[in-house]
């Protein structure tokens, strides 16, 4: 079967089995190896990409469900900005704050953070921690990653401030509920 979709703004067409994972299509068929495979079962978040504006684990998405849709990967972050050094504000902040060590979680972490910020997320630490709770990092202890995302959130003019609604506030409250 042939599947067509947009990757980082450019049209892509692949002739592959429909159950091939989006992760494998990106890495093997399109040579976009920025997206990493960690666990391959949706637990670690290393393969996080943005599908139609939502962060997803690319290891859990069959390509037949991507036909006609819009994918953003870590390679696309710098394409979307026009700053002098060509990096997304999040990539800059990760550098400045020392938010990457071994680096295997970094692409997924950046995409989860990008989806959070694009959804109108703010600099609140607990909300950021919830937004990246599906992304495991075994090096940093998360603090510098949270700091980097918070710095960008604090300086960003939200593209859609209305997206941060009362529901978000309630979601964040829910997220703080201690389990029994």
């Amino acid at each position: 079967m042939s599947y067509r979709f947009l990757v980082n703004g450019a049209p892509a067409e692949v002739e592959v089995p429909g159950m091939r994972r989006l992760l494998d299509v990106l890495r093997e068929d399109l040579a976009l190896t920025g997206t990493k495979e960690g666990c391959g079962e949706g637990e670690c978040g290393a393969c996080s990409v943005i599908l139609d504006g939502q962060v997803v684990a690319a290891c859990l998405v069959p390509i037949c469900q991507v036909d006609g849709r819009i994918v953003r990967t870590v390679e696309g972050l710098s394409l979307a900005v026009r700053s002098t050094d060509g990096l997304d504000a999040l990539q800059e902040a990760f550098l400045v704050h020392g938010a990457a060590q071994c680096g295997i979680c970094t692409p997924g972490m950046l995409m989860a953070a990008r989806a959070y910020l694009d959804g109108g997320g703010g600099p609140d630490e607990l909300a950021i921690r919830e937004a990246i709770s599906g992304n495991l990092c075994r090096c940093t202890g998360y603090t510098k990653i949270v700091d980097a995302i918070a710095a960008v959130a604090a300086h960003a003019t939200p593209a859609t401030p209305a997206a941060h609604t009362a529901h978000d506030a309630r979601d964040e409250r829910d997220a703080r509920d201690e389990p029994a």
Binding site: M19, R21, G42, A57, P62, S133, D174, P179
Partner: protein, 302 residues
């Protein structure tokens, strides 16, 4: 790379039903006089958060053929119908969290959705998939049991409504026939009914539950106490289940310390969880009883 079994992506429910029917009755829908071929079961895939792990082969047999539901708009949407809330099978946890209707009529389901995985899972996993997968640890299932929900299923033969309490037959087996699809979840409007939810996992995000519990009741005040009490549990048995002894201990009672003690003891005495990789039987029994006790205490305000 994992296995890449064949997949079909029907554009309508009728097309999906025909594919399922032909998988059940080999040759029946084939072209004129085609020889009967052995039936190959069709495994539906919606958000893929369970099925995509199964194609790695690490959890047992790999599905041989898949039926992609992602183009079936008939399975989407949350709506209010007379006397009930209808949640389409393809509704994601993210959509449940954001739904004003679910928040108004069954807030425990919103709380539940917020505890499933993390954003990556909540954006893809569906309530129909949680029900179909029928894991004893499925987070939505105790809420659906406590809320007296039903599962609307359909096939070329027609539609039928199955009570959630009758749906989970045995370990990962459901009342769904091989040619049937889950269409929607029907939740009767609570009308004053309170439903509470609690999950205990290893950590707050991305954790499969060790114990998950939902409590429901109607409060008739000091004189008449609680009625229509439901206590439903996950991760303590081969299926998500209601605990009749704990329900009986609370029926007609007020949320007093004595009633909480009785209900918690009844609960601990009537479940037989197992030791596994996530927890021990003793831990599960004690924690399940403690959660129920705590929920009753919260309702009683003591």
């Amino acid at each position: 790379m994992p296995a890449e079994p064949p997949v079909q992506s029907p554009r309508s429910l009728a097309e999906a039903y025909a594919l399922l029917e032909s998988a059940v009755a080999p040759g029946a829908s084939g072209a004129s006089g085609a020889p009967a071929t052995p039936a190959t079961p069709l495994t539906p895939i919606a958000g893929g958060t369970d099925v995509m792990v199964r194609i790695t082969g690490e959890l047992g047999p790999i599905p041989e053929r898949l039926l992609d539901l992602s183009r079936l708009d008939e399975l989407t949407g949350i709506s209010l119908e007379p006397g009930r809330l209808v949640i389409g099978a393809r509704t994601t946890y993210h959509e449940i969290r954001r739904s004003a209707l679910v928040r108004e009529h069954l807030p425990a389901l919103v709380e539940m959705a917020a505890t499933v995985g993390a954003a990556q899972i909540q954006n893809r996993g569906t309530i129909g998939g949680n029900v179909a997968n029928a894991s004893p640890a499925g987070d939505s299932l105790p809420v659906l049991l406590a809320a007296d929900a039903s599962v609307l299923v359909g096939s070329a033969r027609g539609e039928r409504l199955i009570a959630a309490a009758d749906f989970f037959v045995s370990y990962r087996r459901t009342a769904l026939a091989p040619d049937e699809l889950i269409l929607a979840i029907h939740v009767p409007l609570p009308g004053g009914r309170v439903v509470r939810f609690r999950k205990v996992g290893t950590r707050r995000a991305q954790a499969i539950s060790k114990v998950v519990l939902a409590l429901a009741y109607r409060d008739h005040g000091a004189a008449a106490g609680w009625s229509d009490v439901r206590v439903a549990l996950g991760s303590v048995a081969p299926v998500p289940l209601r605990v009749a002894a704990a329900e009986a201990a609370l029926e007609g009672a007020r949320p007093t310390p004595e009633a909480a003690d009785r209900a918690a003891e009844a609960l601990a005495a009537s479940i037989t969880p197992i030791d596994d990789v996530r927890s021990t039987a003793d831990y599960r029994r004690i924690v399940a009883a403690r959660i129920l006790h705590r929920l009753i205490r919260e309702q009683g305000g003591w």
